[in-house]
Symmetry: C2
């Protein structure tokens, strides 16, 4: 059965990440051109990539493209896998003091011989567009505090929910995964909007039962074929950020048909969601 | 029916917070006397109390007593309700630079005319024994990072679980309440020990249903009579940190009997749990 037949079998509306991305891109481009006119400045984003992981290279390329498309100047540094920590720190320090750079991204993961914590802590907090500094995460976790920046992937998920008119307040939300980059900040963001959150991770004994209670599922486990159709409550909203080398995308590539049959709104297999998320990287410059 | 009859009716073992507190106090006292012998220094704790809330006064008095009991020098400053923010900041700055003070506690809540965030951010991070600095909370939330200090009430809850041999890993844990002081850090601590957490708050639509799934419940809602016996799964472990003026303690003063009948292990109505928690304030000095 082909992809088209799959769609007509189901009731789920598929989230059009590309369309959302286009909309956001236009809004940002308009903001930036207004900014340029008003104060003569355009935002600058520096991206530091170490090594040659394919997925990292794709992310960096997409960020650069996203920047170009909206009028953000991008500065890219590509260092070899075996470069020293000091080299990375030198570049960070340079960008920290460059007034034409407003945001610095260090693409993760870094090679194993580097101290990720030390490197990220060196990005000055005002330029930490990734929002990975513990001070930012702390503010994200605390009531009455505001982070300077919010990690982009979870932010992208919230944008998708928001732009599709999904009310988060009072909903049961299950986040699968609790990484510093995706799962944990996603659950904090959902909670800030007054969802009731549960967090599923590798020690969770009954992930299926818990996930099936969710009105909103954000899946970021990085394990292929983990989420099955039976995990999804009929009518639930499902955002999948997982990408797995085995099948190019999606946590549930295989059981997608069954998931689709249950969900009300779901991100597609493919780059729609991803593209939307990449554009969110540049959003903090607003 | 009196308290004794109640007890014999039930299968729940009541957590003896006083005994745990005594044990911890002895351990700390021994540590401190070793420290004094070895390096000639004893820890010093400064407490700043503003205004005359009864509960705050009780907390501060208990902390002072706890310090005295184990050999920690305590420095107390009591300021009037209508003092200025600057006065509080002056005292913080003084303690920040006093080498005989190793920890600074600002008792919360502060009077409404003060900016709590600004005041807490002024406590230097190495002396933030309360662990309320966003940098500490961020580290608590992040995998692979370690907070310098952990907020004491949630830490006290974890100590109780630990000393009663409760395995947290893989358990379903529900935290009722998500305040910066109790609920939110409690859920982060449980998750760090690999529990699967759900967080119930005032927007949660079906708190009873969610709480009934929990193997471990930490209740910190600050609402009297919220948790009913029917909320507790048979065999669950229940830590109640709530204190309500209406009945001197406990979130579930009224339906206590029913809760008791279900729980396997539970903190008592009364000061047992509290006392244990107060002693945890001084624990970070170890
Ligand atoms: N779309 C985008 O823009 C982005 C997509 N991604 C993708 O999202 C996914 C997650 O990324 P990231 O968070 O960095 O990955 P991590 O590997 O850092 O985290 C994976 C999380 O999933 C949990 N997990 C692992 N196995 C299971 C299981 N069997 N059941 C339940 N939970 C499990 C882990 O739990 P534990 O903590 O217990 O180990 C961990 O919290 C990946 O596929 C990644 O490629 C990532 C970033 C951006
Ligand atoms: N034993 C000890 O050492 C200590 C005890 N305490 C006691 O613990 C309790 C909690 O303190 P604290 O966290 O500072 O209180 P807060 O008032 O700051 O927070 C209360 C939390 O409970 C939630 N809540 C309120 N009503 C309901 C409801 N009907 N159903 C579910 N959740 C609800 C609130 O949700 P929302 O966020 O949506 O408003 C909030 O997150 C108090 O009784 C306090 O006296 C506090 C500190 C130390």
């Amino acid at each position: 059965m082909g992809a088209i037949a799959m769609n007509s079998d189901t009731s789920a509306k598929i989230i059009d990440g590309k369309a959302v991305a286009k909309q956001i891109r236009e809004e940002i481009a308009a903001d930036i051109s207004r900014m340029k006119e008003a104060i003569g400045v355009v935002p600058g984003l520096a991206v530091i990539l170490v090594g040659s992981r394919k997925d990292s290279q794709t992310y960096v390329r997409n960020k650069k493209k996203a920047c170009e498309g909206v009028g953000i100047t991008s500065h890219e540094v590509h260092l070899p896998e075996d470069c020293t920590e000091e080299e990375v720190l030198r570049h960070i320090s340079y960008f920290n003091s460059d007034p034409s750079v407003h945001g610095i991204l260090v693409q993760l993961p870094l090679p194993r011989h580097m101290n990720e914590e030390k490197i990220l802590n060196n990005v000055c907090i005002e330029k930490d567009v990734d929002g990975f500094h513990p001070l930012n995460i702390g503010r994200l976790a605390m009531q009455g505090r505001e982070p300077l920046f919010v990690p982009c992937t979870p932010k992208g998920c919230m944008e998708l929910l928001h732009r599709y008119g999904v009310e988060v307040k009072g909903k049961r939300a299950v986040v699968i995964g609790r990484s510093n980059i995706v799962g944990m900040p996603a659950s904090l963001l959902l909670q800030r909007q007054n969802a009731t959150i549960s967090i599923v991770h590798s020690y969770t004994r009954n992930p299926e039962e818990i996930t099936r209670q969710a009105d909103i599922v954000i899946s970021a486990a990085g394990v292929a074929n983990l989420v099955r159709g039976s995990w999804i409550k009929p009518g639930a909203i499902v955002i999948d950020v997982g990408i797995n080398p085995v099948d190019t995308d999606s946590t549930w590539a295989m059981p997608m048909m069954v998931v689709l049959a249950n969900a009300r709104l779901i991100t597609p297999i493919g780059s729609g969601c991803l593209e939307q998320i990449d554009i969110c990287y540049v959003r903090p410059f607003n």
